[in-house]
Amino acid sequence: MEKIIQVKDLSKTYKKKKTKEIVKAVDSVSFDVYRGEILGLLGPNGAGKTTTIKSICGLLVPNGGSVHINGYDSNKQRLKALNYISAVLEGNRNIYWRLTVRENLEYFAGNRGVNRRHIQDKIDELLAFFDLKKKETELVSSLSRGMQQKLAIAVALLADTDVLLLDEPTLGLDVETSYEVRDLLKKIVEQQGKTIIISSHDMPVVQDVCDRTVIINGGKVVADEKVEDLIKLFDTRAYSFTIEGQLSEKQTRLIQNHFPIFDVQDNQVQITVEKENDLYTMMDILKSDQTKIEKIDRTTVDFEQVFMQLIQKEGQDDPAVASH
């Protein structure tokens, strides 16, 4: 697949105003985005997600590394690169509330140097696609948050760029509208062949919509995998043991030592297995105090659990978490 965005060794530091302390927001972040995919960019607050997004959009100059969009450096050839990317960065605040739906679309198209008369058909198409046709003459201030969000995405789509970057596209939306936005995003990729980057805390959205995710924590990439592969990875290695009685102190200590990710609740012990022999080790631990195993289940994990486990694991591996 063709790479449309290449993020290479991206680094950005800030100086704290009061303490003058240098803080690493992102540290040698590298990943590629392929044409026609939906990529989820995830990370906890302060992980370096926003810094990465803004560097991709050319709104932030990195200290090191580069971002190339369709071959153009988003820093050194910013205006050329912007021909290939549009974004919704602040959701419904990205549009003018005292203009109508259609006026917003016309204005932002004009801001990219497009003739208003030449895009009327495209605007009609987008209004129909986003189910905003009936609201086209209404002021944005009178629309619901969901409609405002859809309009903000429509404005970005009208730019007709190859890449669409959406920061928290479902933030503050009710469940129904969130599902609607998810469907629209899938359709945009299917019907228009766009590449979409989504930054979100909404894990069900990421699991449902994204093909691949890049997870950033402490300013570094901790995972760059297909969503299904990540789930499979954790899914196949997570086991739940149902035992008779409860674990002894010795067993609890041994489990703690062997399995960094585990959970004990009454007679249920959940472990995440990293090596082939780990399952046998667990059985040996249980056998050591003659604990009877009633049942072994492979547990089902959702993407949210995968994300949490990755973040926690990374936190344990590298306690020096950068903040922004």
Partner: protein, 258 residues
Amino acid sequence: MIQLWHLINANLRKEYIELKRYYPNTITMIVQFYFIFLAMLLGIHVVGDPQQIDTNVQYVIVNYVIWFFMLTIMQDLGYVILFEAQRGTLEQLFMSPLGMWRILLARIIANLVIYGVIVSVLLVLSMATAGEWLVFRIDVVLPIFLISILGMLGIGFMLAGLAIIFKQIQSVLNVLQFILMGLAFVPLSVAPYLIFAPLVKGIDMVRHVMIHGYTWLDFSFWDYSALILNSAFYLVLGVVIYLKSEKVAMEKGLLSQY
């Protein structure tokens, strides 16, 4: 070039629509202009030298109009940055492949066109009401005014650059309007070194047209050179400072901060 035309067109439409939407503010502005012009046309009889009524009326009104437009140009770009940052649309504007400085240019051209029409109509209306008609060489005044505008545009860009980095510059903008007033009213003959300041040469030439009846041929090559060089210098300097400020804001991550 055609893209710039569509950009100006889009911004002209937006500014016009917003003038309509915020109509109480627009009506207040129109009424204010009408009464200021009327007061100048009628009031000058009371306070001015009776021997020079015609000259006084023309001079005061034209100076006021020039001061108003220069103030608009100087402050508007800074306010555009402030308001857009407050609204949350600033970064969206920065995502335009035409560049933010062109959007700012389009905004100021749009405002000049709109205010130009409003001020012209109101001036004619107030002259008709007062029965006092201004007679001056608009073919001489207008080009001098337009060239002077370019220099002020440079100052506007400098302030926009300041606004991108510091955001809270309302007090600076307020103070500058008084400095501008000083520059507009001090004749070059009193302070010749002010020829290096923006706007002063232009206003001085307009003053010669209004009071002494100067025409194109009465100005020397030196006058025109000073006017053009002064404006070109401040325009280029302003755009360069603005672009540098943009870069600093992007390096420090200040664009979306307010």
